[in-house]
Symmetry: C2
Subunit: 437 residues, 2 copies
């Protein structure tokens, strides 16, 4: 891979001082950032020099919660109530297999990279397929294999995911890009003994555990009724809330829940787009952020949030929370960009490796072009990112030092082939839907 100099960029480091360099440059050596700061003069000796053309170079964005392969079902049965039970679970039962997960994950990963996402946390079935694809295209990922209380697409028996995890995790443990994980679906779909078994498994392998938490109104109702505790406190009572736990959504959380999450150093994925589209509620993201909780942004599955890019989540986080708290000064743009980058890295336990542009960290970078009309003026680059940018402005993306996107095109995989395989899948799904009415 050698050394690469990226010059002529407005560099947002997101380092502890939040340094910004107007005429900035970054040197990548192999997979690592060797230099980040003002443009060196004379220019370093590098194998490759890339002219950023005055664009904004920022840390790669982190999608802290998704179900990548569900992109196969995007735009199906939107705007209907109770779709998880009525549509999603039945569809998955019929249609999800190893081939679908591979083709759809590949498609979703391409879309994430093109939108500036360099790392994601997934929860789905056949995660070994997603791992292979992620490794192949070159994206960083925490991949949680689902454990759930009914026979699932990749297991004929309830809770078969536990065995799947026991095979999957050792295969990928220690990989430079892939972190395998255990993903109990939720407290309403995994009973206490199996939640604890998930936790034991994660601890045994030293991997993260990720779970939907305090997402659904019925989840809180049932939990209060059955356990006389909120979902967060219930999970903590099972000793699952710890610093290796990544909790997705966390909407219905009170002050004491937030205290607990902070005390346990649990990571949180805030998913404003999916929470809003699904009318689930406004998570206490501002409170969690203010308390220093490890909170990042997630798209949720593309059947829920319909996009896979974090720029949209950055923008929505600002808009929704300013509106909800009736405070336009809440979540200034720099904090929003932080949540989409460093915040996500912290939530996933990857902040020693990624999340900011600092010498010694892995080279996960995004270059936004600022030639498009919507990207000017640029009085405040954080504002540009948080309020004006869209995924179409992503010019280049590097993951672990490798160029994954250049000039808005996938560089590390064959777009045509990915789309072709995905189209074939679509045709089969359409056929199935036609036959079942």
């Amino acid at each position: 891979m050698g050394s690469v100099l990226i010059r002529n960029v407005l560099l947002l480091t997101m380092n502890p001082q939040r340094e910004v360099f107007d005429a900035g440059a970054v040197v990548i050596e192999d997979d690592t950032i060797a230099y980040a700061g003002s443009e060196p003069n004379p220019l370093s000796r590098c194998d490759e020099i890339i002219d950023g053309q005055g664009g904004i170079l920022m840390p790669g964005m982190v999608n802290a919660h998704t179900h990548a392969a569900m992109v196969a079902f995007r735009s199906l049965a939107d705007d209907v109530p109770d779709r998880l039970q009525r549509y999603i679970f039945p569809l998955e039962k019929k249609l999800v297999d190893r081939r679908l997960v591979a083709a759809a994950s590949r498609y979703a990963i391409a879309e994430m990279l093109l939108g500036g996402v360099t790392a994601f946390c997934d929860m789905y079935y056949f995660e070994d397929e997603t791992a292979k694809v992620a490794k192949d295209i070159g994206i960083r990922a925490v991949l949680g294999e689902t454990v759930i209380n009914f026979p699932s697409p990749d297991s004929p028996v309830p809770y078969g995911g536990l065995e799947y995890c026991a095979r999957f995790i050792p295969q990928w443990k220690g990989d430079a890009l892939i972190t395998p994980a255990v993903a109990p679906h939720a407290i309403y779909s995994v009973d206490a003994p199996h939640l604890q078994e998930c936790s034991r498994l994660a601890k045994r392998f030293g991997t993260p555990l990720t779970i939907h938490l305090a997402e659904m109104d019925y989840e809180t109702e049932q939990c209060l009724k059955q356990h006389n505790m909120t979902p967060v406190r219930y999970l903590d009572s099972l000793k699952i809330l710890d610093d290796a736990c990544i909790a997705a959504h966390v909407i219905n959380a009170d002050a004491q829940d937030i205290e607990l999450i902070k005390a346990r150093k649990t990571g949180v994925s805030h998913n404003p787009g999916a929470n809003a589209k699904g009318a689930k509620g406004v998570a206490p993201a501002a409170e969690m952020y203010r308390q220093g909780i490890k909170i990042g942004l997630g798209t949720d599955g593309p059947m829920s949030g319909n996009t896979l890019d974090v720029l949209t989540q950055i923008s929505l986080t600002g808009k929704i929370h300013k509106l909800y708290h009736h405070d336009r000064a809440l979540f200034p743009a720099v904090e929003l960009v932080e949540m989409g980058t460093l915040g996500g890295a912290r939530a996933l336990g990857l902040d020693r490796l990624i999340g900011s542009i600092e010498a010694g960290k892995k080279a996960d970078l995004v270059l936004l072009e600022t030639e498009s009309f919507n990207m000017r003026p640029r009085y405040d680059p954080y504002s540009v990112i948080a309020y004006s940018a869209n995924p179409g402005n992503v010019d280049s993306v590097w993951v672990n030092g490798n160029a994954a996107v250049r000039s808005g095109k996938l560089a590390s995989a064959d777009s045509t082939k990915i789309k072709y395989d995905f189209s074939a899948l679509q045709a089969e799904i359409r056929e199935y839907l036609k036959n079942c009415g």
Copy 2:
């Protein structure tokens, strides 16, 4: 101009039956839609045949409320309280002149066209400059010259906008693209006699009147205190609320206000992005829509909402109102797309001309490419538009039969020149800001 056939598109007509043609085509003759429906076989004789490559052809989107030239100040002083009085008015006083309005309007119009906006309703100063630019690039516009109670950038005396209107309106009245209008700023910045004078002027010329209404908390407070009426009822008491009135924002409106707006056939621009970013509140858009009020979507000025595209507003309208009403079935995607197209046309009083793709209407059209990853699958094209698309997916735009955008590039003006002039402006603004600290 001759005749153009656009074929091989998924055609969303937004006609009264909301017909969708999977293999659709449109024939444009000069400025008018001559045919819209299934692809004709054999193909019509046309001067030009355009292959839509399977994209989505939809009515041009309508930005029902903006201040285009304020793009010059975008990304300045975001996230600060009370910025209208503290930043926007002072900045305008110092910096806004004829040249700024021309260059910045041109820039904003280019950005709107590139984002799929084919018509917009503006409120600003030097609207004759905006008119010239709009006509030159080729976009449809209702242009409201501002009337306000202090000396403004284009008038040395308070309420000088009235005289400006009296010169500006006759110059442009009857133009194929431009509808000149009177724009009293708001009820808190225009007193009752001058509001009535604005109304008389608009009636005399037979032009629309557009005003910020029920937008600010202090507006409602003052109005209740001074007039013992809500802003909507106050405006109605002055006989200004009528079917030529376009009210922007309408956030603080109760059931009786909504009844009044309906009875008076007043148009409404719902501006969810700016309302959210400015923490202004959730407008009763769902109630207004349900009552059949002429309601469209606006970006507000790019210093408030930071984008100039309606796709973002379509998406936000769905997300914010589903969330606020805790009802994921509210505003299904087809209704969201309707608000961004036909709804806006109705609000602006232009629905006999535009807003849907029907033979006899003017050819204001948008072609979204569906080759990008985020635009597939396409089980429901309305969902794709409302929840997955971004302005980067706009491939082609026609206004009044003329191609304004082709392959994502401006076709009706020189992008480089527009950006160059705008950069010069930016440099001057930066210099000014530096000098005043």
